[in-house]
Symmetry: C2
Subunit: 379 residues, 2 copies
Amino acid sequence: MATHLETLETPVPIVDLDRLSHNLDQMAAYATLHGLRLRPHVKTHKATRIATEQLQRGAVGLTCATTHELDVMSSVCDDLLLAYPPVGAARLERIMRLSANTRLTVAVDSADSLPALAMAAKLARRDLNVYVEVDLGMRRVGVKPAQEAVDLARAVLEQSPLRFAGIMFYPGHVRESVTEQGASIAKLSADIEELLERLADMGMSAAQVSGGSTPLAWRIHEVAGVTEVRPGTYVYNDRTTAGIGACDWVDCAFTVLATVVSTAVPGQAVIDAGTKALGREPLRSEGDGWAALLDRPEVVVTRMSEEHGVLDLRNTDWRPRVGDRVRLVPNHVCIVTHLFDEIVGVRGDYVETSWPVEARGRGVVQRERDQAPRGPRAM
Amino acid sequence: MATHLETLETPVPIVDLDRLSHNLDQMAAYATLHGLRLRPHVKTHKATRIATEQLQRGAVGLTCATTHELDVMSSVCDDLLLAYPPVGAARLERIMRLSANTRLTVAVDSADSLPALAMAAKLARRDLNVYVEVDLGMRRVGVKPAQEAVDLARAVLEQSPLRFAGIMFYPGHVRESVTEQGASIAKLSADIEELLERLADMGMSAAQVSGGSTPLAWRIHEVAGVTEVRPGTYVYNDRTTAGIGACDWVDCAFTVLATVVSTAVPGQAVIDAGTKALGREPLRSEGDGWAALLDRPEVVVTRMSEEHGVLDLRNTDWRPRVGDRVRLVPNHVCIVTHLFDEIVGVRGDYVETSWPVEARGRGVVQRERDQAPRGPRAM
């Protein structure tokens, strides 16, 4: 009595379970092959169901960006990395409320943030591992290598109960095709080697060198010194990942199922997936449009409103009718999961399961505070 | 014992309650002044709290784009318009499940969609009002005026129990500043007048002529024949609305409160609001960036990752420190409310209330089906 895809109300996010398993297996095998610690970023799926699959395949822990992700993932994992600056009283408070059984690591890029962090850890009676985040070209967060990073590592060591646990970088600026990443890899390696030497000169050692990103995931073992990887997108993949060659098109496990709702305007078909179902993320590889059809990648969404997507039909003989179903591969899947509360898992054309996107959103902080004042700060 | 804004965990969406009331009052007064039926679009707020305020100020009903919006809003309003093609078995089924007390109108742009719509209404034993959607330049959905629209109106009349209730258009293509909309208004008026005449020639009359959009909201009374308006954004307003002069900057009631989390990279400050808190919507007026500071509109978010926003500091003397709070006016607020589950209402710098964004997302269709099979379609 399986439910056919055709019966689902659209728009709805669909994950092909066979492709998902394949993607999970591939990354686990890659990490094992090269002796890398795999610490997947949960931002892509935000679901304990997928996190559990990652852990069962040997992931050493999980990477989170938000406190809500930490909260949710602490129910299935006792080794979490907050790859985000632990700044702000409310954020620190929420971090420290995590179960005492959770081994917690945070990434910092500012000496100014250390005293409050150390005090919060002390009051919560918890050890805290700290990665020093270095900027190796992304120009987002992170201190410059090598001197600034060495200084920050020393500052961490001076702040009990913080523990200097390694260095971290995010190579999100490396967006070349997989085959063209050689120069970027050489540059990353040079920066890291210099930093590790300088740390050694000062009597410090980075227990971990944590790198990440799915685009670079399959070549990260070539970067000198890397011990840990934090890919996120690989579980589902998307149009950008395929476009740069970090996966094949058939590895795109995640699509948005949509319905053609209008063909009234000539030369186009309107589907019921717009910005509120697909996001509005640029394609980071060759091509244009906001999403492409799984079965006809040459047909793309060229315009969107909140609940409308416009398929350009000028370069195809395909002429959909009102009511037809299509499956769309989004440019950037991490944004799309954040738009939905539930994902439907399919095997072929039939629904097999579904799971909640528990770490979507922020958690209901304000109402919680209204109901349960927590001392002076809640007033 | 009020909670100060400073204590909230960020990123968090904040609504200034005084500004919200002002915006609600202004639009209600405008509609009254010109004898227009105000049927606000709920896509902007997706909250029964705000919908109730709109109804208390004289709105005749509400406009929805999704079935989940219909479901949620039917709890506070008995006159709903689905301004979206009622296409697809699952969508029709959900529409027809609405309480029989709900007076329902749907917009159609395809004769092909009428038989299933009429059959669904008949089986549900409900009357259904139908607007014929015309495309007056938006090129999204809608049939061409006048002949196609007249033909479609006649097709509606032939499908019992459907009732031809009027024509509808969405002037979303009119994006000029409010003072420069004269030519667009003349063009809309000419198209509508011709269509109404052609309908009259065929012995039909459009009980309502429903127009919409916040950019044109304050001049929609100048468009010939319009009886009903469907603005959405005006409750909160945003950077685009202010940019085209459809509101003043001080009427921007909605901001995202964020924290500066890094100043490690020179020339910029990184905040904890990125694409997953601000969306990635282009500014539809003069200027660039993805959001601007409420108190310093010249400082804008120039780059974003999922949880990072980069404030460009090159054109300002302002030098924020890690931990500082900022409030951001997004380019397009309707996308931002869709990212959060709860909105915090503030009076000045203090939290007064909060409300859920109940109509965010899609409702939990799949799990509902799993648990309660509904005849042959759920199998």
